[in-house]
């Protein structure tokens, strides 16, 4: 494999992980809760592309529409599902000032519910669906073959990260969200609306999950009821690497993880490759232990009182 191909692979996977980590990190910031359901929302978005049925052959549903309808519909569906989850499973607990443990279990239950509903409707057999068939082509750049979808993934990631970071940096809602992520009760004391901030955080998180649904399915073409679980785990790892509660760190952490796993996959001897995942999950524990603040400590962390 040429270095350029490897770099494209690494950045494409890293970009996907960065989007997931940012989605998880946004919610962690305002809720101090790891949203275990994030991966299953990605799965949910992917399954929205096909007609709900127990049949083996998947019939495209949203997936059959033109891109102009397909993309906003999928993103909208995932955002709605994410917001509905917040409304039903998290808001009542928040109102009651439930402890972190209950929120964690609740998000675990939401994830399990989504998986179960998908299993119920679509059965456990993996299905295949093709969206954006044009993207599976390969590009020939200076005699190096790279897959178009990987290039698109990288571009979409960059664009989306810019949009989200611009939103956080320069809008009023973004300012409120950043303040609430740092000290929620102080933000409330100033009059920041808790429900609105959390709504915005879940909305963006859902949007990011929806984008990952599309990118993932466009690349693999496979649907599986548990497909989101390893993706969510990658997102947790990314948030942990970046330092929980630090959004830029989450993005960097996800990117780092994607690059590291691609390189390990390519460079590890054949016999050790299956152990790659164990290594990646082990990495979480090691980082939590040696650098609980994440690998990329923010500039002003030292003076945080």
């Amino acid at each position: 494999m040429s270095p350029i191909q490897l770099a494209v692979d690494a950045l494409s996977l890293g970009g996907q992980f960065a989007l997931i980590a940012l989605g998880i990190g946004l919610i962690f910031g305002v809720m101090r809760m790891i949203n275990f359901a994030h991966g299953d929302l990605i799965t949910f978005g992917a399954y929205a592309l096909v007609v709900p049925s127990a049949a083996d052959m998947a019939v495209p549903f949203v997936g059959a529409w033109s891109a102009w309808f397909l993309i906003p519909s999928t993103l909208g569906i995932v955002m709605l599902a994410t917001l509905a989850g917040e409304r039903v499973a998290f808001r009542p607990l928040r109102r009651r000032h439930a402890d972190g443990t209950s929120l964690l279990i609740s998000s675990f239950a939401v994830g399990y519910l989504i998986q179960s509903v998908i299993l119920f409707v679509h059965t456990g057999r993996p299905k295949s669906v093709s969206i954006f068939p044009g993207l599976t082509r390969h590009l020939e750049i200076a005699s190096v073959r790279v897959s178009l979808i990987d290039v698109v993934t990288i571009l979409v990631t960059i664009a989306l990260l810019l949009v989200v970071l611009t939103f956080l940096r320069f809008t009023r809602a973004g300012l409120h969200l950043r303040a609430a992520s740092e000290d929620f009760s102080m933000a409330k004391l100033l009059g920041v609306r808790a429900d609105r901030v959390i709504f915005v955080a879940f909305g963006i998180s859902g949007l990011l999950a929806g984008v990952v649904s599309l990118l993932y399915v466009a690349k693999t073409g496979v649907l599986d009821s548990r497909m989101g679980v390893p993706l969510a785990i990658a997102g947790f790892v990314g948030t942990v690497i970046g330092g929980m509660g630090n959004l830029a760190g989450a993005v960097a952490g996800g990117l780092f993880l994607g690059i590291a796993s691609t390189l390990l996959q390519a460079l590890l001897p054949e016999a050790l490759r299956p152990a790659r995942d164990a290594f990646v999950y082990g990495l979480v524990i090691v980082i939590l232990l040696v650098r609980p603040g994440g690998l990329f400590v923010p500039r002003n962390a030292a003076v945080r009182i």
Binding site: T101, Y112, S116, L119, P274, Y281
Partner: protein
Amino acid sequence: MNLRRPRLFPATGLIAVLAVLAVGSRLWGNTLVEGALTEALLYLVLVVGLSIFVGNSGVVSFGHIGFAAIGAYASAWQTCCTGFRGVFMPGLPTFLLELDMPVVTAALLAGLLAALVAAVVGIAIMRLGGIAISIALLSLLFIVKSVYENWDSVTAGQSSLVGLPLYVDLWVALAWAAGAIVVAQIYQRSAFGLKLRAVRDDEAAARACGVTPWIQRLIAFVLSAFVAGVGGALYGHYLGTLAVSIFWLDMTFVTIAMLVLGGMRSLTGAVVGTLAVTATREILRSLERGVDLGTLHWQAPQGSQEIVLALILLGILVFRPEGLVGDRELGVRKAV
């Protein structure tokens, strides 16, 4: 804590209730009910193991089913498929290949292996804070799965291991469940249990009293991994076959649902939750098989039970967060 409480409760009361249920189901002679109760008792071992850590520390663990897997395979290494062990698991060291361990010893040793693993990883993980521990323990579950699925020479990898001695019946399950309850109660009443609950309720205050939080968490973690490991071993000998995928998210979800439904902070809660969830699952399972209402045959669609269970858990978290029994214990008047 009121130290003048009757010392035997709730353990004796809970065991008595379980024994009555067991005898009742045998006398009734309904094999379906007896099977369900056996499974409930096996799950109870796992849930009590989980509750030793979760109930006393207040930190939720998504990793205990990993210890069940470790225990299940450890017991298989000692007892499985005499004569063919080397064929299925060629990677085992020679002393294990020739071993013919009594099943009870094998289960205890299986628990010990799980406890040993917990001690090693716990020394590191238990120093973390609440949410970080939960994430690290979930990662641990993934590590165990990933390692065991790829360690073909001793676990048969992604295929199933068959031929475990089927010695676990209703009475064996009852005996081990009773044992787990007794262990949990002894721990809960011990100075260690008291110290850990002090950490759970107010870490700073507990520290000020000279309690080291991570050591107390570690003690509970190791003990609970032991019980979960034994539970996993028993489950393997109840099924007769093992696959890594048995010890995965479904089992994690079901055990956590059992614990939360009953009440995370009480041993009585663990028992009530386990029985309630098992009963619900059995009813839904039989609905999935179909019921005859007069001339009408109605069948619940496959997969209903998981959905209903997830909804019940969410409902409990929203409407009755302290679980069915809260922090009350059977036969114990609540301390003021």
